[in-house]
């Protein structure tokens, strides 16, 4: 993965901190639903924040395959690369 991906991952992890208790360590393998308790509604709101953070459009349809922090970072990276 490129440096861009690393940068995206680190910004995303910083963003996801608001959804977790302080003692949770967020790593690429962290499961958004089961470990960070991000339910469907929280995920929709998170997407809007990510869109603003990275200045991209993230269609809700693209979330179907997103389960982990890595999946989400990868999706953002893919959308940014395609711009």
């Amino acid at each position: 993965m490129s440096t861009d991906y690393s940068d995206i991952l680190s910004r995303l992890c910083f963003h996801l901190k608001q959804f977790s208790s302080p003692d949770v360590v967020i790593v690429p393998e962290t499961d958004l639903i089961n470990e960070l308790a991000i339910d469907s509604v929280k995920l929709l709101n998170l997407v809007m924040e990510i869109e603003d953070e990275f200045d991209i459009s993230v269609p809700l349809n693209a979330l179907a395959d997103v389960q982990t922090v890595h999946d989400l970072a990868n999706l953002i990276h893919h959308i940014k690369s395609a711009k």
């Binding site: 469907s40 509604v41 929280k42 929709l44 809007m48 869109e51 269609p59 693209a62």
Partner: protein
């Protein structure tokens, strides 16, 4: 997890949250006495959550029209309009809706839910974008999913947020369908239509406005937010439902775009379902006349709405941002909302309980729907009960 295990998980979640022996989301109504009163168990209750905004469900004109159609054309059409044909009532109601809005044409659907499904999935497809308000009704979300278009949300009623998302789409904004609602069903607030129209024109997008909760409620003749704001020419497609102010079941779309008619040949929720029954169409036609001439009904509806909103506001309940017939009490937890809902029911008042994830921002709602058929005394009684329950809810 197996298919049936998923349903067991739903049952467990319901059991953990909801009281036993009380079907909160399917209250058994034994008898209906009028537009505003019914019997639950052995108790007479006041309907305050039925969206019967003009109180037309027992209007003699609607009952008579339905009875006559039932005798004349039978109980149902037994199929779709593509297969079984369009009855004179279907065609007449479509003309009457187009005439009501002074639009080129109209289409009638079997439910309001299907109207949004049919329109969104008929207008947008793979490669297109649908830009929707975050508080959109489930029918809008489901229409988007059915369309296969990319779904982008903007923050509720935030036009700057909407414009930012359109700007990011670049040239794709020209193949973007924006969807907003006249009155939002959760919080009862109105869309900032003037700004939405200005932005959609600037970006050459298409705008669909769902007037489900605003038909009959807003505007001199009850067209909805388009009439209240004088912006009907700025909206490309208007959808709505018969199941609120018109007191029956069904949905519609009107437009000045002549292409609307082509939806009949490509839109699955229109094609693959039975058409509305003759009695439903007949009562809706009668109700539409009453709605159009219903200045006094609207005056009474707004008087009742303002009376209850002001009373609950004065009591310190956290309400939706705008007075109107949908009055949402916003509670911090499902338990608090359930306690208020149950307390109201124990006092003979039936309202809607809305729990996460259906409620916005993780809150829970106790939603009241006011009707023109309510009396000022009934609004007083409701206010008194809310006052009595306040201490126990917020202690």
């Amino acid at each position: 997890m197996s298919l049936l295990d998923k349903l067991d998980a739903v049952a467990a979640a319901r059991k953990a949250l909801l009281p036993e022996g009380l079907d909160v989301f399917g209250m058994p109504i034994e008898e209906v006495y009028s537009a505003t009163e019914a019997r639950v168990g052995d108790r007479r209750i006041l309907f305050l959550g039925t969206n019967n905004y003009l109180g037309l469900t027992f209007a003699p004109e609607c009952l008579q029209a339905a009875h006559e159609a039932l005798d004349r054309e039978g109980t149902g059409t037994t199929g779709s309009r593509m297969a079984n044909g369009s009855y004179s009532g279907h065609r007449a109601l479509e003309r009457e809706f187009a005439d009501f809005y002074q639009c080129h044409s109209g289409i009638v659907f079997t439910t309001g839910y299907q109207a949004n499904l049919a329109m969104i999935s008929g207008l947008a497809g793979a490669g297109d974008v649908v830009l929707i308000d975050g508080d959109s009704h489930a029918s809008i979300y489901d229409g988007c999913r059915l369309s296969g278009a990319e779904i982008i949300r903007f923050r509720h009623n935030d036009v700057a947020d909407m414009e930012k998302r359109l700007r990011r789409l670049g040239e794709r904004s020209q193949s973007t369908l924006i969807v907003a609602e006249g009155i939002y069903s959760m919080l009862g607030d109105q869309a900032p239509l003037a700004e939405i129209v200005r932005i959609k024109n600037a970006y050459n997008s298409i705008l669909l406005l769902d007037e489900a909760h605003s038909l009959g409620v807003l505007g001199k003749t009850g067209q909805g937010l388009v009439e209240e704001t004088g912006l009907i020419d700025g909206v490309d497609f208007i959808t709505g439902t018969f199941s609120k102010s018109l007191g029956s079941i069904g949905g519609y779309c009107v437009s000045n775009h002549p292409q609307l008619d082509q939806l009949r040949y490509i839109s699955r929720p229109y094609i693959f379902t039975a058409s509305p029954s003759p009695a439903t169409i007949a009562s809706t036609r009668a109700a539409l006349k009453l709605l159009r001439d219903g200045t006094e009904l609207r005056r009474q509806l707004w008087q009742n709405s303002r009376q209850l909103y002001a009373r609950l506001d004065a009591l310190g309940y956290q309400l939706g941002p705008q007075p109107g017939p949908v009055i949402a009490n916003i509670l911090d937890s499902p338990q608090q909302a359930l306690m208020l809902w149950k307390g109201l029911l124990d006092h003979g008042i039936y309202v809607n309980l809305i729990l996460p994830p259906a409620a916005p921002e993780g809150k829970a709602l106790v939603r009241c729907s006011v009707s023109a058929a309510h009396t000022s005394e009934q609004m007083d009684y409701v206010g008194n009960v809310f006052a009595e329950l306040r201490e126990s809810i917020f202690q």
